[in-house]
Symmetry: C2
Subunit: 461 residues, 2 copies
């Protein structure tokens, strides 16, 4: 055989083997999806977590029950070991329901507004806060108005989603600063409370809670902070139009209790070839107290656990150690994410990849990757395998909050991205309930997550 | 300049112009989507059609009102002409609510089942049908059972969706034969009625109606046919398990009245360069009587109308004539689609393309094309322009039912395909209501439809 012939024979064999391997991957992924769509436990697990356990904000009795449930569910999914990873979490409680109303001075008609305290906020005095309102559309405007216009008033941040963004995450990212940092910025000018228009993609009457933080460097003045529903904000604007000096009456009963011991729940299946190398999938177990935390982030938790089940129920043995993590305290502190990172750093755990699903239990849409170019290109080379399962894109950048800390120790980070158009309809509201999650959508996305973990395990970087 | 240099200069200029043109297209599409996401009227139109007009099955007073509304809405969208295109439609009415129950012979406990008559079915006698039930899982089984097992019984077609399909349309396609053709096939063996497990992708208590047809060549014996909800079917199976000779009591009050005159509503903006050449977008105005027909197919109608508004409100002039069509009678006869085709054929109207949106008002997913390879390749060359707007695929084959007739006269057909995972949760049920449609999802999909029409108009085949 001439050298040239020999070259072509080798090329032919190599390319045949490559095609064969790709066909095998394709067949295996199809089996994974058959599993997810007909035999997986995601949906049942989600039903239990969201409807049988009471609300599970960090430090609450519900969160403690969710930890016990997750431990059991991880074993049932097929973990050979389940760790409880301790972390001290804030324990903020809402207390009795908030009230917010105004009285029309002419008609004496009372208007009630749907509001909810923001996580970590202090309460109003028991007798409530009774003060005029000033509408603020931006921080620039806040600064222009200054102390003389703001002192003694309730600042109403009336900032809308910019709906021209194709990603609702971008709409949220632009406005959430008014929720998180708005209270201290207003308090600096002597505001007595803040009300923020809910970070909502639709017009309805659910207020959206979420975390806020006091910037004690900016001001020592801590003021109560709440969110008002989209339609409540519209009502308030209407009332203010006819009566700009309107007095708003606001009562909030929330309280920050001493920190509580809580846990991440880590379930794993030891790898057969490289047990010291970990591939991790996670979601967060805690959720805001006003809803069931179905999309945020019960979905991510049950999808992560199902990766273990995908291996066990199909009698597959991973090469690397596969971990499912139910993080604690993503919503108001990030203690779980930090604890996981600190443990990984201290024990020099080698993570091949960490994936988080924390954007709802919707249909698959894409995968975001924060890693080296080599690993990115490798994942990109699997795009054709994931394409039939509604993975439209694989993009650079973006990942969940809990796994973000791992970047410091060089872990490739992956954020699973479902279709996000409806996420901020439900996010942090009483409407984020189990019935808003569609079984097939949840399962298809779980299948993408499981398949991606499988590809990383079998093909590595 | 040498010939070689000259060649490169021309190549450079050509490629620069091409890039510039693509950039312009990209900028224009971005403007279209800004329009759709912030100024379009789709959502408001859908709200009106689905909540202010009563149910609009062909021949009903609601359908007549919908025609008048659509005519007005087309003008408001910016049509310079609106035609009413006559067609004779079947007028089937449900009559009083159906009842279906069994009584446990031991406990005397009554079990009610959620059922609904299938469109075009005859009624039961006034006193109802009281007969034992035979479970049938396939036509093969039906044939095996034959007359001796079936005569005098109610055939219960208990066929489930095969959830391993990635497209719920495929699940539907496999099972809908039991709804459409099952009654006559069972009647041939002497069955007295049929009950079909709803073509449902989820387990709930909504029965799914839909059209059936009597095959009078197969048998002259017409029997009443209804659908039972998913959970109702499970209940019935449970009852039959403990008591296989159970008597089912079924009452249906439906009736086929004489045909009615109805209309397609056709709105158009005359083309500035080629007014004789038409690009059409359509959806169907009629809907099943049990719900609001929001996803099926209010969404398609308002999206089609919004193509006109996209031109008018942005002060753009199409080169070809742009038509929006609200078809009548897609659900139980197809008279509107046929009338449109016959008019086009008779008047030798040249259609450059016909697009239908009849798969729900969900997020965009893909575009299906039934045309020549040339036109397909042209649309494929625009994929990068549509990619940012969640168009994952452009595939060969598939289109809406109303435009299907136009294939005979060589019209390139396009089916818009939104994400379909939830479509058969709502399809043909009382749960297909306006609140199930998300504003952004509806608008994004409308944007894809409008942008595609725009690209065809400006770039042709």
């Amino acid at each position: 055989m001439s050298r040239v012939n020999c070259f072509f024979v080798i090329l032919f064999l190599w390319s045949s083997l490559r095609t064969l391997s790709q066909n095998n991957d394709s067949i295996t992924l199809r089996k994974h999806f058959d599993y997810y769509l007909t035999r997986s436990n995601c949906y049942k697990n989600l039903e239990f977590l969201t409807t049988k356990i009471e609300s599970r904000l960090s430090g609450s009795p519900g969160a403690a029950k969710a930890v016990i449930w997750a431990q059991k569910a991880m074993y049932e999914a097929g973990a050979d070991t389940v760790y409880l990873q301790p972390c001290m979490v804030p324990h903020w409680i809402r207390g009795g329901k908030e009230t917010c109303y105004s009285v029309n001075p002419k008609t004496k008609q009372k208007t009630n507004y749907a509001v909810c305290a923001l996580g970590n906020s202090i309460a109003t005095p028991k007798e409530g806060i009774h003060a005029p309102v000033i509408i603020v559309n931006s921080y620039n405007q806040l600064d222009s108005l200054g102390e003389k216009n703001i002192k003694g008033k309730i600042v109403f941040y009336n900032v809308y989603f910019n709906h021209t963004h194709l990603s609702t995450g971008t709409c949220y990212g632009e406005t959430v600063t008014y929720r998180y940092s708005g209270p201290s910025k207003a308090a600096k000018y002597g505001a007595v409370a803040t009300i923020v228009r809910s970070m909502s993609s639709i017009n309805n009457n659910f207020p959206h809670t979420g975390v806020m933080g006091y910037d004690t460097v900016l001001t020592k003045n801590k003021i109560p902070a709440c969110a008002i529903s989209f339609s409540g904000a519209d009502q308030l604007l209407e009332q203010l139009k006819s009566n700009p000096s309107l007095t708003l009456h606001l009562t909030m009963n929330c309280q920050m209790l001493p920190k509580e011991l809580s846990y991440n729940v880590v379930g794993e299946i030891k790898g057969s070839e490289k047990p010291q190398e970990i591939i991790m999938a996670g979601g967060h177990l805690d959720a805001w107290d006003n809803g069931q935390g179905a999309h945020d982030d019960g979905a991510g938790v049950v999808q992560a656990m199902e990766v273990l089940a995908m291996y066990k129920k199909q009698h597959l043995q991973p090469k690397h150690t596969i971990r499912a993590v139910a993080f604690m305290n993503e919503e108001n502190g990030g203690a779980g994410g930090k604890a996981y990172f600190e443990d990984a750093k201290k024990n020099q755990l080698k993570h091949i990849a960490a994936l988080e699903s924390d954007a709802g239990g919707f249909s698959p849409r894409g995968i975001a990757i924060d890693t080296t170019m080599g690993a990115y290109k490798k994942i990109l080379s699997w795009k054709h395998l994931l394409d039939p399962y509604f993975v439209q894109y694989i993009k650079v950048g973006g990942h969940g909050a809990d796994i973000g800390y791992l970047k410091e120790i060089g872990v490739p980070l992956i954020g699973f991205e479902p279709d996000g158009q409806k996420y901020f309809d439900y996010h942090h509201t009483a409407d984020d309930t189990f019935d808003k999650v569609n079984k097939r959508e949840l399962e298809l996305s779980a299948g993408v997550i499981g398949s991606l973990i499988y590809l990383i395990d079998t093909k590595g970087w």
